[in-house]
């Protein structure tokens, strides 16, 4: 979690330095939601997220260097620099993206869950999405199909609502007719549970139990993680006219890292010194990642034309362009 925080701070910095382009959506404040669940998974499970995906990639073990290189658009990035921040992808580690169309990935996760069960695996799919994503058609269609397939034990998917209170600048009360978002999920015959998304132990505890249940039953389940983002929606969201400084400050009291530290101090005697060491390690890892990204080469021009399709790839129009 500390690594994620330092990573996100660095990525915001590098964005301002112009090293990172496009849109950049960081996870600061929500770390426990990624870590709490992903640490409960096993090899072969697959994870889907939206464009706010750095934390999931790091939690799955993609490595800060390759993730940062992706943000820099370098050939050493996890997607060879072709995807960028919104489209992190690391199939070998179980990360199946990183999608930019809000809610578009939700049916994909249901389908992957079906595929796992179709092959009689006990692996599961996990799908992160925001509160705002729950208003788009693909959420609805994906949920209903998951609920239906779940009746036959054919849809082992864990839905995670990252309820951070806002879709960009629109608060939950202003974008959803009913603010009890879980109620919507229950209407598809899917069990739900609200969990404190600032407390990694609460998240992990729930995840352990629920993941086991999903593996056994093949039925979908939904965690509504109540969380908060500390940064703007994206790097361009400077003014944040939709919330007050006070509100943000108040939520900083429930920083998931502080909560984790306190708790670890209590149960396993974590000292300030330990934390300092962890912090130094994280800072150094991230600095290394930035150096790696900076020093890596950009993709070769020929990469433009690869990976479009497996066969019958594009004819470069530059050849006819005059």
């Amino acid at each position: 979690m500390i690594l994620i925080r330092r990573f996100e701070e660095a990525s915001e910095r590098e964005f301002r330095r112009g090293k990172i382009g496009g849109y950049l959506h960081v996870y600061s404040g929500q770390e426990a939601v990624a870590i709490g669940v992903i640490s409960a998974l096993k090899k072969g499970d697959v994870v889907y997220c939206g464009y706010r995906d750095h934390a999931q990639a790091l939690a799955l073990g993609s490595g800060p260097s390759r993730v940062m290189a992706e943000l820099f658009g370098k050939s050493t990035g996890i997607s060879k620099g072709k995807g960028g921040s919104m489209h992190l992808f690391d199939a070998a580690n179980g990360l199946y993206g990183g999608y930019g169309i809000v809610g578009g990935h939700i049916p994909l996760a249901a389908g992957s869950a079906y595929a796992l069960r179709y092959r009689n695996s006990d692996n599961i799919a996990v799908c992160y999405f925001g509160d705002g994503a729950m208003n788009i058609g693909s959420f609805h269609e994906g949920m209903n199909m998951a609920g239906l397939w779940g009746k036959d034990g054919l849809c082992p998917v864990l839905w995670i609502i990252e309820n951070n209170g806002y879709a960009m600048g629109t608060s939950v009360e202003r974008h959803s007719a009913l603010t009890d978002l879980s109620a919507r999920v229950r209407a598809y015959n899917i069990q739900t549970e609200k969990v404190d998304g600032q407390d990694v132990f609460a998240m992990r505890g729930a995840a352990d139990r629920i993941v086991r249940q999903i593996r056994e039953t093949g039925k979908p389940y939904c965690i509504e993680a109540m969380t908060y983002r500390f940064s703007g929606h994206g790097a361009a969201d400077i003014l944040q006219p939709y919330r007050s400084k006070d509100e943000v400050e108040k939520h900083r009291d429930r920083d998931p890292i502080t909560i984790m530290r306190k708790r670890l101090a209590e149960v396993s005697g974590l000292t300030d010194d330990d934390v300092k060491k962890m912090d130094e390690w994280a800072t150094e890892e991230v600095a290394k990642a930035v150096r790696f990204a900076e020093e890596s080469p950009v993709p070769d021009g020929s990469e433009l034309f690869t990976d479009v399709v497996a066969e019958h790839g594009p004819h470069p129009v530059s050849e006819d362009n005059g």
Binding site: L108, S138, E141, M145, D307, V309
Partner: protein, 328 residues
Amino acid sequence: MAEKSYRDAIREAMMEEMDRDPNVLIMGEDIGVYEGTFRITAGMLKKYGPRRVIDTPIAEAGMVGTAVGMAMLGLRPIVEMMTVNFAIVAADQILNHAAKVRYFSGGQVDVPLVIRGPQGAGVQLSAQHSQTFESFYAHFPGIHVVTPGTPADAKGLLKTAIRGKDPVMFLESAALYGMKGEVPDDPDFTVPFGKSRVAREGSDVTIVSFSRMMQLSLTVADKLSKEEGIECEVIDLRTLRPLDMEPAYASVAKTHRAIVVQEQWKPFGAGAEIAASITETMFDELDAPVFRVTGEDVPMPYARNLELLATPHEEHIVRAVKRVMYRS
């Protein structure tokens, strides 16, 4: 070789592939218990069971999206659209997800996914149910667009689609379902993508087309040959993405005249790409501009007489052929 309908060719292609590969499955609305509105999937639920023949809710975006998720994990889903018109609600899943995930992941996944169903006008289904979508989908890289015009091609191209690694929009012509033709028996008979074919040889005018309009062009070509001694060479494009224009170019080098025939609206339709490509490459060989025969630029009306006016007919093709021969 055996004589088979276009419908049976499609059905057999799917069943043979399902027999061959347990990863192939089919999903769609009313394909199982109901056995398919066009009965393409009749008997399949019974034979393969509900895990492999999935009746879905009315949720085209959900169907395509879940299929993308299946395909990335190695299954080979076939999604039946009751008609291709309904795929518009899934356009984002098709064009922004299926067609792009290979690219933005840097090539980490295959997406072996076939989306298939009937399209086209002719039975008074009016404005929302009568469209064809070849140019709509073929504009986007990352997805193949297939438009078979014969039973053999329907079977061979569908097998290629199912065995491939990429998403495919497989656009069937509803009007051709009953059409019969010779289909090879070999269960490994496939037709490659990106290989247009000369459907009929001729020396006077090149007609470039696909799907049902290719069949109509053949009819017209035979008539013109018999009645007026005009020999048209008909090129069947078969797949619009990848698009193989070489046979058309070779034909134009011989005939120096070409027309394009498509069913749908002229503006920004498939014919524009075909005509523009021919001109770009074969300008010096052309003795006349490439004319386009197309449907009228209106939403499809319901009334039978209006519908007939809205779609291309033999006489339109005849007129265009004569026009490029400066005989009109």
